[in-house]
């Protein structure tokens, strides 16, 4: 892989990857402007602009790939504040995330070319503008090298995605979702801003270079880290700032959900890594514990809620929360190892984290796009009204199957690799020089295993209810498969999932420069050939998905061939047997709620359940039960009420009586005069 990638590098070394990235970002902005030029024209947007941006995405991925293996390059743009022009810099970390962005964006843009419709709230040209500003700002976030540039790009990203989320703004709930999203994003942004303020420590030097050079006292460092955790955590959907995510992702058009879930959440991880592993010199061990605990809590919370959803996009959104939790846990582990100076293990944990970022980007956007196709051809989002689509839309169904296996963390696809690496990292923790942590960690590993297993449950529910069984609505009969553009997008992402799963050694070769940059170490994998994944040494653990896959395939084939060889292949079609029950119909299948019921029972305390049981005399009995998020009632509503109360107190100041107003200024005067004396 090293050879191949260096060959790629030599091929692309002619252009400086940083310039290329800036160019592509500019190109995306230009596409957006072009879309704005002809807001109403669907043909222009879908036939010209979006395919073009997909190509740009591919180029970005290629340049970023070459950039990973090149030394960092920096340049200063003639924009920004007078004493603080925009600094841009591209090092291995940025390059890796740019690679992620480019690859996913290519697939999503192609899909969007086929997905765009007339008359869905916002005109296509405007959507094109938002979409490409969104892409460009994400690229800029990744190459920003000073606080101001970073914040500008960061907030533009939030803004663009907000407009995309509310692109069908006639529906009040969508407006509400967008409002919640932007509010939390803004609060997070303020936290990040303050974090940078703490990092520059009054030196007035806002460049990342200056922050790196500074030595922070552990107090300031902790403050900065906590602010970063809050700020980026809000964007990553980490507990308890996750509430916007299950609202905003379903509200957005599916390609946007795919980008938000696949890439935007990762930019939050990028920021966290950048601040805590690059800008901050010091690491305090309990930061790691906090991040780990938050991550695990988020992962379990997310997956448990995903299991009880009945809207397919909400389900995926909650599953994104789960995956971000896993990533955050890996990040926490990295911090732990790093703070105890166990470089190689830190590198291992970091590798797992980054690998999972990459995987999640691909399979989650794949699944969101699949739901998009389903949504367009059936106009249904509720799992209770879908089913049996594998017959009507095979393309979507089979690509979605790939995504499903991948996200369930099953071999031989990519989801498994990162979870494998993560568990490996956990198995090393007993080496930590800290008794309590040693005991804590098995529990953490157990939590991760549980989350992974539950993810399998969730995905079986998702796939089984949407694509298998009998159609639950008559209208599903005329559901049509995805169009050509959409198929290309789906296929691209599915292929990526397979490749990432089958050649992990190559991917780790790509991650190597990043881990070396951030932790100073690399995991000793490449010495064992490209076929085997053996992060520490083969005695300790090794895994070869390719071999694994080939042999499974061989065994399956062998079984099939032998059966076919020795026995006849007679098949008869008949009505379903169903224990001889004659009046089988679609409503007898499990509903989504029914499928989630065991989880709801086992994890009772997670939920705030509202049940509505019909009376026995009810002619048309309706049974309703919805499980809500307790945090909403424990955190958000109290805060809102608090603000209300304070407002009530404040408004006493403005009661309309002029004498009182005069009294205020009189008293102010007297008080100040007292102060002076």
């Amino acid at each position: 892989m090293r050879e191949r990638s260096t060959r790629a590098a030599t091929l692309l070394v002619a252009i400086n990857p940083l310039h290329a990235t800036l160019g592509i970002a500019a190109f995306w902005l230009a596409i957006g402007a072009a879309g704005l030029a002809a807001p109403g024209s669907l043909r222009l947007a879908s036939r010209v602009l979006f395919p073009a941006s997909a190509v740009a995405g591919l180029l970005l991925a290629a340049t970023a790939l070459s950039g990973i293996f090149q030394p960092p390059t920096a340049l200063v743009l003639p924009l920004g504040l007078p004493d603080l022009p925009f600094h841009a810099r591209l090092d291995a970390l940025s390059a890796f995330f740019l690679f992620l962005l480019g690859g996913v964006a290519a697939g999503v843009s192609v899909f969007a070319a086929g997905y765009l419709r007339q008359g869905e709230g916002t005109p296509p040209g405007l959507q094109c503008l938002y979409y490409h500003v969104f892409l460009a700002s994400m690229a800029l976030v990744l190459i920003a090298d000073d606080a101001y540039f970073f914040m500008v790009a960061w907030e533009s990203m939030a803004l663009a995605s907000f407009f995309l989320v509310t692109s069908d703004h006639r529906l009040p709930e969508i407006r509400r979702a967008g409002y919640l999203y932007l509010l939390i994003a803004h609060l997070g942004a303020i936290a990040i801003l303050l974090c940078f303020g703490a990092l520059q420590g009054g030196s007035g030097d806002y460049t990342f270079q200056g922050m790196r050079a500074m030595s922070h006292s552990s107090g300031w460092a902790t403050l900065a880290f906590m602010l970063a955790l809050v700020g980026f955590g809000a964007k990553a959907g980490i507990l308890p700032l996750h509430v916007w995510l299950p609202e905003a992702h379903p509200a957005a058009p599916s390609p946007v959900s795919a980008l938000m879930s696949g890439v935007m959440l990762k930019t939050a991880m990028y920021g966290l890594l950048r601040v805590s592993l690059d800008l901050l010199g010091v690491t305090v061990w309990w930061w790691g514990v906090i991040a780990l605990a938050l991550g695990l809590a988020t992962a379990l919370f997310g997956v448990v809620f995903a299991a009880t959803q009945s809207d397919m996009k909400r389900l995926l959104a909650y599953s994104s929360i789960e995956n971000m939790g896993l990533i955050m846990a890996g990040f926490g582990l990295t911090l732990l190892f790093r703070s105890f100076g166990m470089g190689t293990l830190a590198a291992l944990a970091l590798t797992a984290t980054l690998y999972h970022c990459l995987n999640h980007a691909y399979f989650k956007s794949l699944l969101f796009l699949a739901t998009g196709s389903v949504l367009h051809s059936t106009r249904q989002r509720s799992l209770g009204r879908l089913g049996g689509l594998i017959h009507r839309m095979p393309w979507v169904a089979w690509t979605a199957l790939v995504g499903t296996i991948a996200i369930a963390g099953l071999p031989p696809l990519n989801g498994f690799v990162s979870e494998w690496l993560l568990l490996q990292a956990f198995l090393f923790t007993p080496g930590l020089p800290h008794a309590y942590l040693n005991m804590l960690v098995p529990v953490a590993a157990a939590a991760i295993a549980l989350a992974a297993a539950l993810a399998g449950y969730v995905m079986v529910k998702f796939y089984g209810v949407v694509f298998l069984g009998q159609p639950r609505e008559a209208t599903l009969a005329e559901a049509h498969d995805a169009g050509a553009w959409e198929r290309i997008g789906l296929a691209w992402l599915a292929a990526a999932c397979v490749v990432l799963g089958l050649v992990p050694a190559a991917v780790i070769g790509m991650l190597d420069p990043v881990t070396r940059m951030l932790t100073g170490f690399r995991i000793a994998n490449l010495s064992h050939g490209w076929l085997f994944l053996a992060p520490i040494d083969p005695q300790r653990a090794s895994y070869s998905p390719l071999l694994f896959f080939v042999i499974t395939a061989l065994l399956v084939a062998a079984a099939w061939v032998t059966v076919r060889l020795f026995y006849h292949g007679r098949v008869r079609r008949a009505a379903a047997w169903d224990c001889g029950f004659p009046y089988l119909n679609a409503r007898m299948q499990d509903t989504a709620e029914g499928f989630g019921q065991p989880v709801r029972q086992v994890f009772e305390p997670f939920f705030r359940v509202e049940q509505h049981l019909p009376s026995p005399l009810d002619a048309t009995p309706r049974y309703r039960e919805d499980a809500q998020d307790r945090l909403w009632y424990w955190l958000y509503l109290p805060v809102a009420r608090g603000v209300e109360r304070v407002t009530g107190l404040v408004t006493v100041l403005q009661r309309g009586r002029i004498s009182i107003y005069l009294l205020y200024s009189f008293l102010t005067l007297l008080v100040l005069l007292f102060l002076v004396r």
């Binding site: 408004t651 100041l653 403005q654 009661r655 309309g656 009586r657 002029i658 004498s659 005069l662 009294l663 009189f666 005067l669 007297l670 005069l673 004396r677």
Partner: protein, 220 residues
């Protein structure tokens, strides 16, 4: 001889001014309120003229005359016409009862004196002690504006505050430069004219001059 008694005379006038301020604070009838205001203006005129004579600063004569014209003649006349046109004969009822107001006033005077001590220690002028009194007058008329609920008394309070400021200027620094005196005077004049207009408008719209009816704009 006048030179000799000059400072005492000025202090005497200052005391009278303070007395008038208290009188206005405690005054219930609006007509006499206006008269008191005129009296205040007159005392102001006297003191200014005296200071002018003692320190032979010529521009102070001008401002003394200005005071006489504006604050003793013009403004009281306007106010008289105003209340005749609006035929408001009523007593001025206060938001806080008079004795309390007086007590607060005394506290304010003490505060003002304490506050002006360090300043007047620096003041090289013979009229050093007047600054404290001026400040006291400012605060007292402020208090008056707070305690009165009707529009006209508030206006009078506003104008008497202007007087006190003027007195401070003459007392402490032998008056501000002429240009500024003129500017201030002009502002005061225009202000009182506009206030007159407003009082008519308010009377017309709300058919009362009680500012307690001007409480529609507020936060709920």
């Amino acid at each position: 001889m006048l030179e000799h008694y000059g400072p005492q005379l000025i202090n005497l006038l200052a005391a009278v001014l303070l007395l008038l301020a208290f009188a206005m604070l405690s005054q219930r009838r609006i007509l006499s309120l206006i008269n008191l205001f005129a009296a205040q203006g007159f005392v102001l005129f006297l003191s200014t003229a005296l200071v002018a004579y003692l320190t032979d600063q010529h521009h102070l004569y001008w401002s003394a005359l200005l005071t006489l014209a504006l604050k003793v003649v013009l403004l009281p006349w306007i106010l008289h016409r105003l209340i005749r046109r609006l035929n408001v004969k009523w007593d001025v009822e206060t938001l806080i009862n008079i004795p309390t107001t007086m007590l607060v006033g005394i506290v304010l005077v003490i505060l003002a004196f304490n506050l002006s001590l360090p300043i007047s220690r620096l003041a090289g002028t013979m009229t050093r002690s007047t600054l404290g009194i001026a400040l006291a007058c400012v605060l007292l008329s402020f208090l008056m504006m707070i305690t009165r609920s009707k529009a006209v008394p508030q206006v009078i309070g506003f104008l008497s505050m202007e007087n006190a400021l003027f007195f401070a200027a003459t007392g402490a620094v032998y008056g501000m430069p002429m240009v500024i005196e003129l500017g201030v005077a002009l502002d005061v004049l225009v202000a009182s004219l506009i206030l007159g207009i407003f009082i008519f408008e308010i009377r017309e719209r709300f058919d009362t001059l009680d500012t307690r009816h001007l409480e529609k704009l507020k936060e709920l």
